[in-house]
């Protein structure tokens, strides 16, 4: 179809015929007039004719079409006119910073270029709306797209403004939504209400300003212009008032005429983001640092609203979304958003959906809602990681997020997620449901879940220590996580033999509301751990006693006189249902999946992830208490990095481990007490008098630091910190629990693993207390270490190397102690069946000798007290034995202990009398503890009526003669660390040791073979003496090196060697 270059001429035209196409003809200026008058413009011309070579034709045509309602181009030109005025009016509102003006002065001045002079000569004459507005002083409207500024319109004295003939693609559609890419359209339907109000105000202001100078106006033109402006106002549909913007177009001065009324655009409405319609409404417990504005054109569709009416921020609306949909955090179209962030809803969901091929894989997590059936992948049930960007958690809490999330599965296996976002809304709508469908190719499946656990599983107002454990044997097969917490302290643990494995513990100060999952570095969504339990109100005051033992540790609590052992409940939240092959690994690096009863072994496993020269080991992060009472005891010795000599070691690292062990103990204890409503705790710790002064001081300082730390972490106030000796604490137990009388004379002996804590009482007052470093290890376990046949009989493990090194012995002691404790009753049941066997017989004689030595030394002590007139009675004192080592008595008598008709009872009484005096009246009566191993911890929290003098009567009687500075000192002298010098030597003859053996053998002689004599000859005596000399030299050296040494009775030092010669 031909494109007309010109309209037809009407029949009566005066245009001289142009006969030859492509030829130029000279005509007079009137010819143009003839052409314009001869054109048949009333015919329906659907295209703009602009081929008339007249520079002024465009404004004239524009005028003609605009002012003539019947002009075929009127509708289009009216739209363009309105569109251009709207651009001027809304320059600030729409942030049209690319719209500028440029003055063009058209003068017939010799200095002007020929072109302008020609324009001047051709400019329309006498056609202006106002006398002060001339065609020689015009403003061109320029619009910049990219680097190119193009004229898109101009001022006109007849129509105020007109648009260019060609400005296609010269205006950015993303900025001017009523530009269709070719021409400007009537903007009314593309504007928000706010924009309409601004436009209304501006047009009204323009109209009013023009009317105010009506006396200068061309009435005809003004009337038609006023009509156009009024109809524009009416069509806008809303009313508004004009507020002048802060900028101008530079159209000013007298020469500008009426154009000055175009100079000032309307001011942008001062919207704060809170007035946005698309601001994400936060949960009540969230205070995000910056508002989040959700930008999605579909919001308007869902609300059935004009996008321009959905305010994003200020003048920016959803209509401001660029056609390519791209937005930046702080920019939409030409609008900069400074005090909010823009997010597309698809950014709030993960790019891919991650699932685990396992039903209910997140057993300890909050469950999402499915519309229809639970999800499957092929034939496998799957569990979904919530595909949420953790950014949303700054605004919405996990419960609200979960409530607003729905899942469904389509017929082809695709999974659709619907996220119902709460928005500030427009007064009618207040949310937006965003849907995203993940096709199978967008679904990533994991085969396994990692170990994922949280401790503790409760919240309390002041509790600030939560631990999250993660472990994956093969991170390729599963996902990684990080807790959603700002200050999570992270500790990575190397897994022996598996460099691929990933094992991490985090400590956070709040319960982890969410765990952020990763697939490699890619965020894979969230898991919301199940809601924690809520601890009861904290209004109770407890007392807690901690008996830190060499082999086992016991903790007791007391509430208003009710004393109970502390049991560490399984207070973990197990988030993932790991496969059976993995589940047991958690024992090796976190807390076990069971309750822990007290006492438990004093073992601490170090992870070797602490900084070198660490001044502190954080419990659970750098190591953990190795709870093994009933797990893999046979393998105990081969477990890695287990510290078993926590109590007595003087090494710096072991001391750190001991502190971490006690720290975890107190933390777990606090967890138990918080679960019972604890507000405050009296912490009470026992210690042996055998600790050197420096060790005692260090121990007390450590306890103070731990309880301070626990108070800070748990909110449980440490109301008091008390220390008591183990011997006094054990005495308190016997007095309170077993109603022991301490008037006439009572001796309490707590045989632990490494010390026997002895206290002697009369008239309810402490006369003497001592921790003898001669206990279960020396009497019993060391014998087992050296005798494989006995071990075999009782199914005890062998030492790992058997090299007699201290480390090897300690590992063995720990394992044997644990097994003996666990299998106690079975062993005693078995004992009578094998009791007559030689091996067992020899063991029992050995145990009898050891215990006799203990009685003998205590007897020597009583003798000293009697000689000093401090022990007044001549009655045989009453003995109470406790501690795990007290089980040795049961070994002697095949599992039971009775005083009467018991040759060993007679033996001990005989030996004791030999040490004290033959004149002691009555027979020896020994009572066993009803709660072996729990005495000291119990005693710490009970209120026994016992008097402990200020000096505590910590006396070490030498028990054997010795030489100092070449002079002999007697066995009944007291000794302290000052005696440990190079001048300390053994006596020429071990008189008291010999007397003890003689007493033992004398009884054996008359026991009808029930007790065997101990073969002690001169050669053995010399051997013991030699070893004693070595001990003395070593202790003197250690003291000289400023090492805290334990002051031991000379008799006990010698007694230990008696077993080894």
């Amino acid at each position: 179809m031909p494109t007309p270059l010109l309209p037809k001429l009407h029949p009566n035209h005066n245009v001289e015929q142009l006969t030859e196409p492509g030829e130029w003809f000279n005509r007079s200026a009137d010819e143009l007039k003839h052409i314009s008058e001869g054109l048949d413009v009333n015919n329906q011309v659907q295209t703009q004719i602009n081929s008339i070579p007249d520079i002024w034709a465009r404004p004239l045509l524009f005028e003609s079409a605009l002012l003539n309602g019947s002009h075929p181009l009127h509708s289009q030109i009216l739209g363009e006119w309105r569109g251009l005025l709207a651009m001027l009016a809304l320059r600030e509102v729409k942030n049209l910073v690319n719209l500028t003006t440029s003055l063009v002065e058209i003068k017939d001045d010799a200095a002007q270029p020929d072109f302008l002079r020609a324009l001047h000569r051709l400019k329309p004459k006498g056609r202006s709306i106002s006398a002060d507005t001339d065609w020689g002083h015009l403003y061109v409207f320029l619009y910049q797209v990219g680097h190119l500024k193009s004229p898109v319109g101009m001022t006109s004295p007849t129509t105020l403004v007109f648009t260019s003939s060609h400005y296609a693609n010269h205006i950015n559609q993303n900025e001017v939504s009523w530009f269709d890419g070719r021409i400007l359209q009537d903007p009314i339907n593309r504007l928000s209400n706010q924009e309409k109000k601004a436009l209304y105000g501006w047009i009204g202001e323009l109209s009013g300003n023009l009317a105010a100078s009506a006396n200068q106006l061309n009435a005809n033109l003004w009337n038609r212009m006023a009509g156009l402006l009024n109809s524009y106002l009416q069509d806008i549909g809303v009313t508004g008032t004009f507020t002048a913007g802060a900028t101008t177009f530079g159209i000013n001065g007298a020469a500008a005429g009426v154009f000055v009324h175009l100079n000032t655009p309307a001011a942008a409405p001062a919207h704060a983001p809170s007035e946005s319609h698309v601001r994400l409404v936060s949960s009540a417990d969230r205070t995000p640092s910056i508002p989040m504005l959700i930008v999605d054109g579909n919001i308007a569709s869902e609300w059935r609203e004009n996008p321009a009416n959905v305010v994003v921020s200020g003048a920016a609306t959803l209509a401001s979304i660029p056609q390519n949909g791209l937005i930046q955090r702080n920019q939409i179209g030409s609008f900069m958003i400074n005090n909010a962030q823009l997010w597309r809803p698809d950014e709030l969901l993960t790019k891919k959906l991650y699932v685990v091929r396992q039903k209910d894989a997140f057993a300890g997590a909050k469950k999402e809602e499915w519309v229809g059936n639970s999800p499957v992948l092929g034939n496998d049930d799957v569990s979904v990681i919530l595909p949420i960007n953790d950014k949303l958690l700054e605004y919405l809490n996990e419960d609200e997020l979960l409530r607003r999330l729905k899942f469904s599965q389509g017929g082809d296996g695709e999974l659709t997620v619907t996220l119902d976002l709460p928005l500030s809304g427009d007064g009618v709508h207040a949310s937006y449901k965003f849907r995203k469908t993940y096709a199978r190719t967008d679904i990533v499946d994991f085969e396994k879940v990692p170990i994922l656990e949280v401790f503790p599983n409760f919240v309390s107002a002041k509790w600030r220590a939560y631990f999250i454990a993660y472990s994956a044997d093969n991170p390729r097969a599963t996902f990684r996580v990080k807790p959603f917490a700002p200050h999570a302290q992270e500790a990575r643990i190397a897994v022996h033999g598996n460099p691929n494995a990933e094992r991490i513990i985090w400590r956070t100060d709040s319960y982890p509301q969410a765990l952020v999952c990763y697939d490699g570095q890619e965020k894979a969504g969230l898991i919301f751990p199940s809601a924690p339990q809520t601890a009861p109100p904290t209004n109770r005051s407890f007392a807690v006693g901690v008996d830190f033992g060499a082999s086992g540790t016991t903790v007791y609590k007391a509430l208003q006189g009710d004393k109970q052992p502390v049991e560490f409940k399984n207070r973990k939240l197990v988030v993932t249902a790991v496969d059976p092959a993995q589940s047991s690994q958690v024992f090796d690096f976190f807390l076990p999946d069971r309750d822990i009863r007290t006492p438990f072994l004093s073992f601490f496993q170090v992870f070797n992830n602490h900084p070198q020269d660490a001044a502190e080991l954080e419990p659970l992060l750098h190591g953990h208490t190795y709870y093994t009472d009933d797990e893999r005891l046979g393998e105990l010795q081969s477990q890695e990095n287990i510290e078993t000599n926590l109590k007595w070691s003087s090494g710096d690292f072991e001391r750190l481990c001991a502190k971490a062990f006690l720290g975890q103990l107190c933390l777990q204890t606090a967890a138990e007490l918080v679960a019972e409503g604890a507000q405050s705790v009296d912490w009470r710790f026992s210690y042996p008098t055998a600790f050197s002064d420096s060790h005692t001081l260090a121990y007390k300082q450590v306890c103070q630091q731990i309880t301070d730390s626990v108070q800070a972490l748990t909110g449980v106030r440490s109301s008091q910190l008390v220390h008591n000796t183990e011997s006094v604490a054990a005495a308190a137990f016997f007095e309170d629990y077993q109603k022991a009388q301490t008037v006439l004379g009572t001796i309490f002996v707590d045989i632990g693993s490494s010390t026997s804590d002895i206290s002697v009482w009369q008239r309810n007052t402490l006369l003497w207390q001592i921790s003898l470093p001669f206990a279960g290890q020396d009497i019993f376990l060391n014998y087992l270490y050296r005798n494989p046949s006995v071990r075999q009989k009782f199914k005890l493990p062998d030492p790992q190397s058997g090299d007699n090194s201290e480390a090897d012995r300690h590992r063995f002691y720990a394992a044997a102690d644990a097994i003996l404790r666990k299998d106690n009753e079975q062993i005693f049941a078995r004992l009578p069946l094998i009791a007559s066997q030689d091996d067992v017989d020899r063991l029992k004689n050995h145990l009898a000798l050891g215990l006799s030595g203990l009685f003998y030394y205590v007897g020597l002590g009583i003798r000293c007290l009697r000689e000093k007139k401090r022990f007044a009675e001549a009655e045989m004192p009453h003995f109470y034995f406790g501690g795990n080592g007290s089980q040795i008595f049961r070994w002697l008598t095949n599992g039971t202990w009775v005083t009467s008709s018991n040759p060993y009872n007679d033996l001990f009484g005989f030996v004791f009398k030999k040490a004290v005096s033959e004149d002691l009246r009555n027979y020896l009566k020994i009572e066993m503890s009803s709660l072996p191993k729990k005495e000291a911890a119990y005693g710490l929290v009970c209120n026994a009526i016992l008097t402990v003098p200020d000096n505590s009567h910590k006396i070490v009687f030498a028990g054997e003669n010795f030489r100092e500075n070449n002079s002999t000192r007697r066995w009944d002298e007291t000794i302290d660390a000052g005696v440990l010098t190079d001048s300390l030597k053994p006596p020429d003859r071990l008189e008291k040791l010999a007397e003890f053996v003689a007493a033992f053998n004398e009884f054996a002689q008359s026991s009808n073979g029930q007790v065997k004599k101990f073969d002690f000859n001169d050669q053995k005596a010399a051997d013991v003496r030699s070893r004693l000399a070595n001990d003395m030299a070593r202790l003197a050296f250690e003291r000289a090196q400023q090492q805290g040494v334990v002051v031991q009775p000379i008799f006990v030092l010698a007694l230990k060697h008696l077993f080894n010669v």
Binding site: Q358, K359, D360, A361, G378, N379, D380, D381, F446, E447, K448, V449, D473, N474, R476, A477, T478, V495, H496, G497, N498, N500, A501, A577, V578, D579, P580, A581, Q582, S583, S584, Q585, F587, P592, D593, R594, V606, N608, D630, E631, R632, L633, G634, E635, Q637, S638, Q639, E640, N641, I642, E643, F653, P797, D798, Q800, S801, A807
Partner: protein, 289 residues
């Protein structure tokens, strides 16, 4: 070593050699003999565990507290491990020979016993690797110890296709999906893993578990081929509490090592007995760190 160990070892080796040379005539008799040998090797395997317990009860995972490996009775430990490897292989061979003969009986009686096709590649991949001389320590110094690998093509095994696809799926997700599309999978695992970790002395108890370590695929005889769940890592806890030790021979397994790539040389065979899944025959794994 106890005498029965060497007797069983020699029996299996001579039997294998006998089969290779076609010494046996009666196939049924062969099966009975082989089953007998298989039984003895299984007993031998159990005894070897006991030997390990007796000789190195606390073997080898010790480290000093600062990470230095403490010397353990390495020579004894190596010997035990070598013996166990040999036994594992022997059991695999004996088991394979039993099945092979059994299948031949089925074929001769016109009974379908499963997949009989397979490619040569599959055979080479699936067949137990012959033991090298260095892997077999002679019982008495100077005594000759000859070993002949079975010559019958194990690619005829009905499970050849299953393990081929499974092993491909270890590295290739698409193959894994094909495996899942091709076979109906039931997930099973040791229901007593945690209890055993807590000290319970009992045999593994296999049940259908959502988080089991194994996948079971029905075979043509109403029983099931059992393979590790994809992406399983074999380490000491998987081996012990996880039940891998009960389900598979794991040649070369070292408890101090974790194997993150686990392929199958031969699937285990289970039967279903109510809720219980009972192992009928041990499978064999190919381990890779």
């Amino acid at each position: 070593m106890p005498d029965y160990f060497w007797i069983a070892l020699a029996s299996v080796v001579s039997l294998a050699a006998g089969f290779a040379s076609g010494y046996w005539v009666s196939r049924q008799r062969k099966i009975e003999e082989l089953e007998d040998i298989h039984h003895w090797v299984v007993r031998l395997a159990e005894k070897s565990k006991r030997i390990e317990i007796l000789l190195v009860p606390h073997a080898a995972r010790a480290q000093s507290k600062h990470g230095t490996v403490v010397s353990t009775p390495a020579s004894t430990r190596r010997l035990i491990r070598d013996v166990q490897n040999i036994i594992d292989r022997l059991e695999g061979i004996a088991s394979a020979l039993v099945r092979q003969e059994f299948n031949k009986v089925g074929e001769s009686q016109g009974v379908s016993v499963g997949f009989t096709g397979g490619e040569e590649e599959t055979f080479r991949d699936a067949a137990p690797a012959p033991l090298s001389e260095s892997q077999v320590e002679p019982p008495v110094e100077g005594e000759n110890f000859n070993f002949t690998a079975p010559t019958q093509p194990i690619s005829q095994e009905p499970y050849a296709r299953i393990i081929q696809l499974y092993n491909l799926g270890v590295d290739d997700r698409a193959a894994r999906d094909r495996f899942r599309n091709e076979y109906t999978i039931t997930r099973i695992g040791n229901n007593k893993a945690v209890a055993q970790r807590l000290g319970e002395v009992s045999s593994p108890e296999f049940r259908k578990l959502d988080n089991g370590n194994f996948l079971a695929v029905p075979d043509a005889r109403g029983s099931f081929y059992v393979l590790p769940w994809f992406d399983s890592t074999l380490n000491s806890s998987a081996y012990n509490e996880g039940g891998f030790d009960h389900v598979f021979f794991c040649p070369g397994y070292d408890p101090e090592t974790a194997y993150t790539v686990v392929r199958v040389r031969r699937p285990a065979v289970f039967r279903q007995d109510g809720d219980a899944w009972v192992r009928v025959e041990k499978g064999e794994l190919i381990l890779q760190r």
